[in-house]
């Protein structure tokens, strides 16, 4: 099964289970959780089932294309089920069968692994799903987002697509994966990994440390300020985008070693304040009272 076939199979499985198929957020984010289809949709009472592939950038994980398992950018299949169905674990296992993983021939475990994102004021309880000793998914019951208790509770399933594809194709190096159409993962992405890693760590770029740092700092400040202005104007979705851009800019400052320890905390705090303010305002607009007349189709 090629990498793209895996994506087709999983998305069509979830579509058949009543999920909307959305597209990944067209911004630089570290995980599918940042997408408003997760971050905002889990707030309030309206049921929502959605799945999408989120290309996820983690500057710190960049390895210049040299590491067989680590990537600057990887792909997550994100599924949100709100409320969480009782049979969620069974449905998840059926999704694995749908891509050819027979649970009766492998060792599949749900091992404790809770999730927390201080920047988003969010946390959840759950597991990492282990397939023959390899983590292939993260499974979380969202408890809070933006510091707000969620009711109902949503289930989030995040599939590590490269990992699962490597397992299915019995490949030890991610760049050897068959992507589709006779092309390997390396053909498609190697150059991007090399260049993005150099950029993330500011190595062999010819750009001075000062310049690199000053540019991203001013970008952060401007973006943050504009995000606050958007929030003040009540434009929550654009404000969230600016907040996420800040988060990514901070990650770059961090991976390139441009921030000291006290500053680091201050940056995180600023992103957190903006994110929480956005979530709070959004939640106030989707309370059962506010949303029931409009939300019903």
């Amino acid at each position: 099964m090629t990498f793209q076939d895996l994506i087709f199979q999983l998305t069509s499985f979830w579509a058949s289970r009543g999920c909307l198929i959305q597209q990944g957020l067209d911004l630089e984010v570290g995980a599918g959780t940042s997408h408003p289809e997760t971050l905002l949709r889990v707030l309030g009472p309206t049921p929502w089932n959605v799945a999408y592939v989120q290309p996820s950038r983690r500057p710190d994980d960049g390895r210049f294309g040299q590491n067989p398992n680590r990537l600057f950018k990887h792909h997550q299949l994100q599924v949100i089920l709100k409320p969480s169905p009782d049979e969620i674990q069974r449905i998840y296992l059926e999704s694995l069968e749908a891509v050819g993983i027979n649970p009766r021939q492998h060792d599949i475990r749900f091992e404790e692994d809770n999730w927390e994102s201080p920047t988003l004021g969010a946390w959840g309880i759950g597991w990492q799903v282990m397939l023959d000793g390899m983590e292939i998914s993260q499974f979380t019951y969202f408890q809070q987002v933006g510091g707000i208790d969620l009711s109902p509770v949503s289930a989030e399933i995040t599939y590590g697509l490269e990992r699962i594809a490597m397992f299915l194709q019995k490949v030890d190096n991610v760049f050897d994966l068959h992507w589709g159409g006779g092309r390997s993962y390396g053909d498609v992405r190697m150059r991007e990994e090399v260049e993005q890693s150099k950029y993330a760590f500011n190595r062999d770029t010819g750009i001075g440390r000062e310049r690199y740092s000053a540019f991203h700092r001013s970008q952060f400040d401007e973006t943050f300020k504009f995000g606050q202005e958007l929030l003040a104007g009540g434009l929550l979705l654009p404000a969230l985008e600016y907040c996420l851009k800040c988060s990514h800019l901070f990650n770059l400052l961090d991976s390139s070693g441009s921030v000291g320890v006290t500053e680091r905390t201050a940056y995180i705090l600023r992103v957190r304040q903006l994110a929480i303010a956005i979530c709070k305002q959004y939640a106030a607009q989707v309370t059962p009272e506010a949303s029931s007349p409009k939300a019903e189709p």
Binding site: Q105, R109, F110, E112, S151, F167, K170
Partner: protein, 724 residues
């Protein structure tokens, strides 16, 4: 079977580390709730668990609640009857309210006088009527390290039912019949795919395995024996001990088949205790990895296997690791070799990563990593780990020089102090945090640091356990024992005192910085200092701690830690309190331990108990001595007081000598005990608060001297046997 109670709470996977405690809780909670419900337990409670179920069974419980007598108290008799002996409106109202005839009212004598009272007899309800309450009480009383909300509610008026993981089914049988019970789902979750959890007669087997039918289907059971048998046919071993033993046996056999044995020195107990709680049906498989990885430090190899994969390393007869691992599956696979192959690939990828980190870390000496600590935050008020390293370096040097009086080792201790956190900036520790300290030690060793330095780094997080034999041992420490002690104390002191100064004190179950553990490690090191380092020093807490910025809360926290460590050693709580009285800063944990080692030999003797029983009185009376009272001496006359004075004068030097020397507490306690009868006689024969002020002061002074003498050993008034 007709009065058997069987409960199974079917859940999604409960974290392995919670299960042992949770299983005990279920038994205790069930017992307490049954008692509350006045249902008799005619057979003991049995409990079982797997990651997906908590089970409790009682062979026989009462068919109905015990009947209950209730005494309802009314107004006082004085207010209930008028002068003619007729009921007043208050008295009549009470009878009416209780719904009884006036002649059913009794007069009840109480400490406050006579009151009206009515005795009511309540007939117990049948078990089936009360068992639903028992279950809701039980579900409410279980506590988890972390609770989650899962849109569930109970109809007990308290609403939301948080739990450890979502409950998926309830099996609740009494005498083979289902006890009606249900957990409802909160309104916002109302949805076709979200259902109430209704108690039934069904259990569920292994997710993927069964002897017949479809795996994971509902299985109807009638009673416990049936339940156990059906589960076993469906690949669920509900006895933890059976899973544990099967795992141990199969690991052993598989290791031998591979020409080695489980590397138990590396494995320790933790993983073998954890794995049984990760599986319902354990099966052991083995795999191999390339021999080239045996060049990795053993610590790295075994941590990668154990902590990340729950794999068991295998060694040969000489303790040398083999390129083999064992894994416990929750599965009886058709082709185990496929799973083993997949596991080999995962392990190989991890080992390759580890080798990559090791090589990249080694490009720089450990010294160079210290600089990067400026980007790792220790605490916002206490700065980065770079700043912490500088403090630990200074403190370790000081402890070595000033307290241990080993200036010859001070440079080594300081070097280890400066480097001990450096590995937090290495790729290896960022990846395998369990190896903090260990990696720093390995890197220091590789760069040629002497044993006094590298081992001090390697072991500086220890001791963690408070038991006398918890690691590190003296033979492990080798020539680094003293430098290690200096660094370990310095690091823990800096953390505990620093965090208190920054306002981060532990409260209740919240101790995010692990201060209790750090403080206990510190105390444990002082308690066992001679055995661990050969230094026979009675170090007090005050000697170690710079008191500035620390308040009462810090000292009482430290005192509690000292008491905790000593109690964990099995010393009696009252004895522990008696030797840890007074100012915490003046306390030497080692002295406290030495006293406790001999104290129990005396506490049961008649003389000692006499002294203990009277000591509170001694303390209370001695308080009356004015601090400026002149010492007039020679005023005592009564034989009993002269005898006590003679004993105090002759035994005083024995006790004081012992306290001075710090050894021979047996002799000192024996001396103290002999004072018991003299003190008893003194209180029998002598009136301390005599009219004559001179005589009174002389007597008070004698008691004051006695008090001071005994307190140097222990506040024996803490040891008085509890009243029967």
């Amino acid at each position: 079977m007709d009065r058997e109670l069987l409960l199974e709470i079917g859940t999604e996977e409960i974290p392995a580390s919670w299960l042992p405690g949770l299983t005990i809780q279920v038994g205790q909670a069930l017992e307490a709730r049954l008692k509350e419900a006045r249902l008799s337990l005619d057979e003991p409670i049995e409990t079982y668990s797997t990651p997906r179920r908590l089970t409790a069974r009682v062979g026989k419980i009462g068919e109905r609640q015990d009947d209950r007598e209730e005494l309802v108290m009314g107004p006082p008799v004085s207010a209930a009857f008028n002068a003619d002996g007729q009921l007043t409106p208050a008295g009549a109202g009470f009878a009416k309210k209780q719904g009884v005839a006036e002649d059913a009212i009794e007069r009840i004598a109480t400490a406050k006088g006579e009151y009206l009272g009515v005795r009511k007899h309540h007939r117990g309800k049948t078990a089936v009527d009360v068992l639903p309450e028992v279950l809701s009480g039980l579900l409410r009383s279980l506590t988890f390290p972390r609770h989650m909300r899962w849109d569930a509610e109970l109809a007990d008026g308290k609403g939301d039912l948080p739990f450890g993981r979502p409950i998926r089914w309830l099996l609740y049988l009494y005498g083979g019949r289902v006890v009606p019970f249900s957990i409802s789902r909160s309104a916002p979750a109302q949805h076709g795919l979200v259902q109430d959890v209704v108690a039934g007669a069904s259990t569920y087997g292994h997710r993927f395995l069964t002897m017949s039918g479809r795996p994971g289907r509902a299985i109807k059971v009638k009673h416990f024996d049936d339940y156990k048998k059906r589960l076993s046919e469906n690949f669920v071993v509900i006895e933890r001990s059976e899973r544990h033993d099967r795992i141990a046996r199969e690991l052993d056999a598989e290791a031998r088949r591979r020409g080695g044995r489980v590397a138990s020195a590396l494995v320790g107990h933790a993983i073998l205790e954890e794995v049984p709680d990760l599986v319902e049906y354990p099966v052991v498989v083995s795999g191999t990895f390339s021999e080239e990885f045996l060049k990795l430090p053993e610590e790295v190899l075994s941590t990668t296997m154990i902590h990340h994969q729950h794999f068991f390393p295998v060694s040969n007869d000489h303790g040398k690791l083999l390129p083999v691992f064992l894994a416990v599956l929750n599965m009886e696979p058709e082709k185990p070799e496929i799973i083993a192959k997949n596991m080999e690939r995962v392990l190989t990828a991890r080992l390759r990563d580890a080798r990559f980190f090791l090589e990249s870390d080694r490009k720089k000496p450990l010294d160079a990593h210290v600089e990067r600590l400026s980007t790792v935050l220790f605490h916002k008020k206490l700065g980065s780990y770079l700043e912490k390293s500088a403090r630990v370096e200074k403190l370790a040097r000081e402890i070595c020089t000033r307290i241990f009086v080993r200036p010859d080792l001070a440079d080594h201790a300081a070097a280890a102090g400066r480097l001990c956190k450096a590995d937090l900036a290495t790729d290896m520790v960022r990846e395998l945090t369990e190896l903090q300290g260990t990696m720093g030690g390995i890197y220091a060793r590789e760069s040629g640091a002497p044993e006094e330095v590298w081992k001090a780094i390697y072991y500086h997080y220890l001791p963690v356990g408070v038991e006398a034999n918890s690691p590190p041992g003296k033979e492990q420490l080798g020539s680094a024992a003293i430098t290690w002690a200096a660094v370990s104390l310095a690091d823990k002191l800096d953390t505990v005192a620093g965090m208190f100064r920054a306002g981060e004190r532990p409260t209740g179950s919240r101790d995010p910085y692990g201060l209790r553990r750090s403080a206990q490690g510190l105390v444990r090191l002082l308690v066992d200092l001679p055995e661990l380092t050969g230094l026979n020093l009675r170090i007090t807490l005050g000697q170690l701690v710079d008191e500035s910025g620390l308040d009462e809360a810090f000292w009482s926290f430290m005192m509690d830690r000292v008491r905790f460590v000593l109690e964990q050693r099995g010393f009696d709580t009252r004895n522990v309190r008696s030797v840890t009285h007074g100012a915490p800063a003046a306390l030497s944990p080692l002295v406290a331990r030495r006293k406790l080692e001999t104290l129990p030999e005396f506490t049961d003797t008649m003389e000692f108990q006499q002294l203990a029983a009277l000591f509170k009185r001694v303390k209370n009376i001695a308080r009356n001595l004015a601090s400026d009272a002149p010492d007039l001496g020679g005023t005592l006359t009564e034989p009993a007081e002269l005898a006590l004075a003679t004993s105090v004068n002759s035994l005083g030097p024995v006790i004081e000598g012992t306290v001075e020397a710090g050894t021979g507490y047996r002799q000192a306690f024996a001396a103290a005990a002999t004072l018991g009868p003299s003190v008893a006689r003194f209180f029998d024969d002598v009136m301390v608060m005599a009219e004559d002020p001179k005589l009174r002061d002389a007597r008070l002074r004698l008691l004051k001297r006695l008090e001071g003498l005994i307190l140097q050993l222990a506040d024996v008034s803490e040891i008085v046997p509890e009243e029967k």
